[in-house]
């Protein structure tokens, strides 16, 4: 790695690189102005922690290898409350341990970004790729009424580009934002164009940029007290109402998705992350077999782009079936059903335990499901 990997200004020629997903996400965070990272080793995301330990001090930031994921997320809680642009990363069971902190961060309205490089579960599970933390990410693994904003990249380039956006959204909404990747995205290499470096906000600049942050009152303002407990229930309800206005705004403004081949599709897939890329190949295989298939790919998982499913009526009025392809026993599928509200039948194609779906497998299963739907339709 050269110094160019950190925070030198971007140059389109030199900033085109072949990078591993985990390292690329770490670099993108530094480029987005992140200067604080706290993490604990867990496979398959260790390259993020390793990269940050090496590169953050060079960029004038601070790195701590925490004693546990509990400590990592609570260090993020402290750094975010102190106004620092902060990152942690982990993988599924580690992110499970962080749920207390994520609930707490949402409650104190502290901005931060967390990367989950998903592996298979439940329990310690397996270190191979999975997408079975969908519920954990979108339904809130922690206690109480709150949400985490979740981005799901399908490529390393998209993960890098989403990182800058994640920090902007975290600051705007004063809420944790998650990049939900998987072991495949973390471990594979792809050519990328590295995003331009942004100037970090540190030291004395924090008080101006984030007047709510813990900086010391300098005998010039009232003290900033950041509370998590509420002793007056009515005041707490009022606070919760305010918090909720933010989430309603997020539901209006943040959902993102893209479609592929949706026009006149007979069959519509939904998939996120790396699985969406495998589905694209199946769509091409199915076309050769005479089945027109399309894809809706949510890029945000919370807020979920429910409106995407209205596109089916507009662009694929003859669609007979929607298939949710995912590396889980069926988690994304619940949001797909909420998006469709009974307008079309929904089926699942899934693998678990760290086993990836192959294009051939999806094609064959999709054909069988499609034929079955046709017969039942008659």
């Amino acid at each position: 790695m050269t110094d160019k990997m950190t925070d030198k200004p971007a140059d389109k020629m030199t900033d085109r690189k072949l990078m591993k997903g985990n390292e690329a996400m770490a670099l993108a965070a530094i480029r987005a102005g992140c200067r604080y990272y706290f993490g604990y080793p867990i496979t398959p995301q260790n390259e993020i922690t390793e990269y940050m330990s090496r590169e953050l001090p060079k960029a004038g930031g601070a790195f701590i290898q925490a004693e546990s994921e509990l400590a990592s997320i609570n260090m993020c809680y402290g750094a975010a409350a102190a106004g620092g642009r902060v990152l942690t990363s982990s993988s599924s069971p580690g992110v499970a341990l962080m749920q207390e902190g994520l609930s707490g961060l949402a409650n104190i309205q502290a901005p931060m970004v967390i990367i989950n490089v998903m592996r298979a579960g439940p329990g310690i599970g397996a270190i191979q790729p999975a997408q079975a933390d969908y519920f954990q990410a979108t339904r809130g693994g922690g206690n109480g009424d709150y949400h985490i904003i979740v981005y799901a990249p399908e490529s390393i380039q998209e993960a890098m580009d989403m990182m800058g956006k994640a920090y902007d959204v975290a600051d705007e909404y004063r809420n944790p934002v998650m990049i939900l990747a998987d072991g495949m995205l973390g471990q594979m290499m792809e050519p990328v164009v590295v995003p331009e470096a942004r100037k970090p906000i540190m030291g004395d600049d924090i008080a101006k940029a984030k007047p709510w942050a813990l900086t010391g009152h300098k005998n010039k303002r009232e003290r900033n007290a950041i509370n998590s407990v509420w002793l007056d229930q009515y005041a707490f309800e009022e606070f919760s109402n305010e918090l909720w206005k933010k989430y309603i705004k997020a539901e209006k403004e943040l959902p993102e998705y893209e479609t592929y081949n949706l026009d006149d599709a007979d069959l519509v897939f939904t998939a996120f992350g790396t699985t969406a890329r495998i589905v694209r190949e199946s769509i091409d295989q199915l076309a050769k077999k005479g089945i027109k298939a399309g894809l809706i790919r949510p890029k945000t998982l919370w807020p979920f782009p429910y409106g995407a499913f209205d596109e089916i009526e507009k662009h694929a009025p003859n669609a007979k079936l929607v298939i949710s392809a995912e590396l889980s026993r069926g988690q994304l599928i619940q949001d797909v059903k909420l998006g469709l509200l009974g307008r079309l039948p929904v089926a699942l194609i899934g693998r678990v335990a760290g086993i990836l779906l192959t294009p051939d497998e999806i094609t064959q299963e999709a054909m069988a499901l499609y034929e079955k739907t046709g017969k039942e339709g008659k």
Binding site: A62, N74, M75, A82, G216, H217, N224
Partner: protein, 248 residues
Amino acid sequence: MKTVFEMTPAMREMELHYCPGCTHGIAHRLIMEVLEESGRLGDTIGVSPVGCSIVAHRYMNVDMIEAAHGRAPAVASAIKRVHPGNLVFTYQGDGDLASIGTGEIVHAAHRGEKISTFFINNAIYGMTGGQMAPTTLIGQKATTAQEGRKVEDSGMPLRVAEMLATIDGAVYVERVALNSPSNVRAAKKAIARAFEVQEKGLGFAFVELLSSCPVNWGLPPVKALEWMDEAMIPYYPLKRFKCPEEVK
């Protein structure tokens, strides 16, 4: 007329919510007086725990944040990394620090974090209503040890200052008590040294303050202070375990 005692601007003018006879108020005031006298109120950041003192920020006139149960040392470690020029302290009880938060306190000490921790040891869970703490004495009654703590069920009480003193990163470790005027004066000096250690960037500083909890001990306030002399101090000796040359 000569003023011999007055409110300190370091404490906000509010009625404390603590029970009569509780020594949290004394501990709060000592920490704040030290900061005011050293002119550091404006650039100090405090972290309060889960427990009776969760809302310490209502009284202490510094920037503060509530941490999740036991996590204050992790929160404070990161605050210090973001603002290395500020003084950062945690204020924690024995359920918070000696039970659920043992990992965080041991590793903050182990990393030699340049923060100061004030540990209120009253040998019981206060806010939740008198359950046994790791620091509850043998034979001491608690709502979860109704016949008194037994060694065979719960082990011996945890001596946190002694434990942390074995860690290299913890450069200043002292145990004081808040049950008599002379002990209170000694406590204030220990608090001042803990901040001086941080100011000089020497490492992690830790002060254990033996405190009273008359309500959950089932004792009137004066008897509670006497019980500290009779039962607590013999098991938890008042001692400066470690102190760097620079602040002696």
